[in-house]
Subunit: 463 residues, 2 copies
């Protein structure tokens, strides 16, 4: 850093425009508004000072060199589909869009890896992999529009995680631009490798606060040759959650195991014209894949029948429709002051207790709740809602939210299974992490980003 | 730290004995010799000043508080089965043995997790899990005697990794004593969780240089209900390595896929009275598990026959014997000046080229080589050897080793797939990792261990 003095915003903008090409920098009002927020709840609306679209690694390096020199905060952004406010703009920041860096640089079916730029859309990578009988396993509900860079930043989960792992399990190596513009390469192209500290995992899930991911080498897995999907309706949620444990006891590993309660089924029916709620008051949607898919579905049918589960093997078209409905369930719940979706996870044995507790606390606080869950790994997305935004109702909603977090932690859970802390969940993080851990994280942040310009106020609580 | 002045060794030893119980501290010559080295090559033999056996977390905290105060280096140690010298004693150090902390604190089949002390032997955890139809998947060849703490320290791999992942993939949470004696808890008990930075992964594989693992929460997987094992003999190594890719193209995922060359088969026969070498000059040992094991074995048999592979479905007893022979193959190659086993990994597509290159370089340098590999994930353990320790031969051996490393890196590989850098592989680390990465690692080390007392001179090259 040859010059650490703060220059005027005008000088910064001039230098930014000089170092990038035509159409890569905007300070127009509609762009500033459009890139002010992601899909997370907004508690402190800020617009960026400028929006920048990087097209190359060198662009990102130039931006970070300038931002370092001028002390300007940078909020990196993929598709902006995050739901925790990890890409919300902060005071005086630059939003750095990476969605134009969208090339699949290599897809090697023999090595079972792909190298991608950060702006590649998850579904596009999957389409390219499918041509070789492969898949990129992590499948957040947003996979049709979210980017690999954003998935890496949040360590995105999805439906297939219980069997195939989360984003961290799929990332072998990263190219990262550090706060001062230095480009580093972490990890290995090989499926195994243990040289040095695992910087790759440290960057995965760090929400752009330690560096900017400009490239990823990811592992691909075999596209399953057969898929069987069961819709299993139960008389109540207690029986359905017990079903999750019954599948474990039967030692069959579903690739997808989604749980939906009655209110969620009614909501789906209302929005999609389906008639799920007529079939039962709780649904386990279980997908099995691989050569043994049919056998596993049969084992599951027997195991779940013992708990009152009525299983139907869905034809492939209907199965895809059901999984799609589930995926987009989240999409319909855009968070607001009156509707907030949660992302807690609890140990699997606590699912049944936690679901009962959620229903009881909603009743006690006089708010609505509907529950969907990636039940296979204990990750729940309860949505709390109130009918309108009067102060008492919003207070009741927040009280229910806080209680849902407290109870999840009491049961040995976490406040975020896959969405990340972002900006919105910072208030709960100290409930989960002790001061010593927060302090270590804070010092790691200082080590990587001494000026504090990388996505400030996100992911960790500064000690 | 109330007193940072160096005291005399005598005072340190007195305080150590005062803070621990009877039989927990030794300065006896035979103990110092016994705990001077692990199973890695020794290039700088040192004996510790003392050996300490921790029995509780508090013991580890006491030892680290004292070591910090007196500036004494601490080398943590599990079973001492590492092969990279990660547990070799260094000048003036204390060896801190954790093998007495060997309790399985909890094994919860519904949550599919276990909480263990670091000294629990891998095989003991697996035996306890098997009673519930579960397994702890990472299975280093040493699993019968190595500890979970040591497995975590080295991010141990094993035979089942290609399908089930390495140690890092199995570790959900850790209890770690930091250099100053502070106890922290990282990670989550749930199967998914993304709160804050991934400190858990940072500790996994850090070889005791960032903190001392005193507890681990690990994920268990379902014990497979069926297992089928194929011994597939090929006319040459080129066909056998091509077979690895053919299995991928057929989209069957073996749980074990081991490759052995002719010299390895001859060595096994000589030591075990088997007659493998008579059946072919290269062996792929492929195990499939789960409900589709038989179908997958059939698909594999057809795919490999097209390459000249002659597959025999082994009966369970013989299959176990073959896998066991393979596992203990490493055990017979205790490294010395004249015999060194390597641990490189290459992208799967490069296996065939790398194997040919290894054979060519051995011939060129006039040294022997035999090759075994966890072929499924491209992780090779070639063993180079010379007949005796005269200087020219040892030099030729080292030249071949260096060339094998260079070639692996040129092919996009890594210098260590699963054994770790330890002390022995430090010389090669700068060939793999750029200065910027080494510098970051060095600064992370300083952050966690400002005095440099945690296993100094291991795992990373100080920048």
């Amino acid at each position: 850093m040859e010059d650490t003095a703060r220059l005027t915003p005008h000088e910064f903008e001039r230098e930014l425009r000089e170092s990038l090409g035509e159409g890569q920098v905007s300070t127009g009002g509609s762009d500033l508004r459009r890139f002010a927020t992601d899909q997370g709840p907004v508690t402190n609306y800020q617009e960026p000072d400028a929006v920048v679209w990087a097209e190359t690694v060198e662009d990102v390096q130039s931006v970070m060199r300038l931002a370092s020199r001028h002390g300007v905060p940078v909020v990196p952004r993929g598709a902006g589909t995050g739901v925790s406010g990890g890409a919300h703009a902060t005071t005086g920041c630059l939003v750095l869009c990476l969605d134009r860096m969208d090339r699949i640089l290599e897809l090697n079916p023999e090595d079972e890896v792909a190298r991608v730029e950060p702006g590649v859309v998850n579904a596009d990578l999957n389409a390219a992999a499918a041509a070789h009988g492969l898949m990129y396993a992590p499948d957040p509900a947003s996979y049709r529009i979210s980017t690999i860079g954003g998935n890496v930043a949040t360590n995105a989960g999805g439906l297939r995680c219980a069997k195939y792992g989360v984003t961290r399990d799929a990332v072998l190596a990263l190219d990262v631009v550090l706060a001062d513009g230095t480009l580093i390469h972490t990890g290995h192209r090989t499926l195994k490798g243990v040289a040095g500290y695992d910087l790759t995992s440290l960057f995965v899930g760090s929400e752009g606060t330690l560096g900017i991911v400009v490239g990823a080498t990811v592992r691909l897995k075999y596209l399953p040759t057969d898929i069987r999907t069961l819709a299993v309706f139960f008389p109540d949620m207690a029986a359905a959650t017990a079903g999750v444990l019954a599948l474990g006891a039967a030692r069959v590993q579903p690739s997808i195991l989604e749980l939906m309660d009655g209110p969620s089924l009614e909501e789906l029916d209302m929005r999609n014209g389906s008639s799920l709620a007529r079939r039962g008051t709780a649904l386990l949607l279980a997908q099995f894949d691989g050569l043994a898919a049919a056998q596993e579905a049969a084992v599951a049918t027997t195991a779940l029948a013992a708990l009152g589960g009525n299983a139907t093997l869905e034809d492939p078209g209907e199965a895809e429709r059901l999984v799609d409905l589930r995926r987009h369930n989240r999409g319909m719940d855009v968070d607001s002051e009156t509707t907030v979706g949660e992302d807690v996870a609890v140990p699997r044995s606590q699912l049944v207790h936690y679901v009962a507790a959620l229903q009881a606390m909603a009743e006690r606080h006089g708010v609505g709740v509907r529950i969907i869950a990636h039940a296979g790994d204990g990750n729940l997305h309860p949505t709390f809602w109130v009918a309108d935004a009067d102060a008492a109702k919003v207070a009741a909603l927040n009280a229910a939210l806080d209680e849902s977090i407290d109870t999840a932690l009491e049961l040995g859970g976490t406040i975020t299974g896959e969405h990340g802390i972002g900006q919105y969940k910072l208030r709960w993080l100290p409930l989960e992490q002790a001061e010593e851990v927060r302090s270590l994280q804070s010092r790691i942040k200082d080590l990587f980003d001494p000026q504090g310009i990388l996505n400030p106020g996100k992911a960790i609580v500064r000690a």
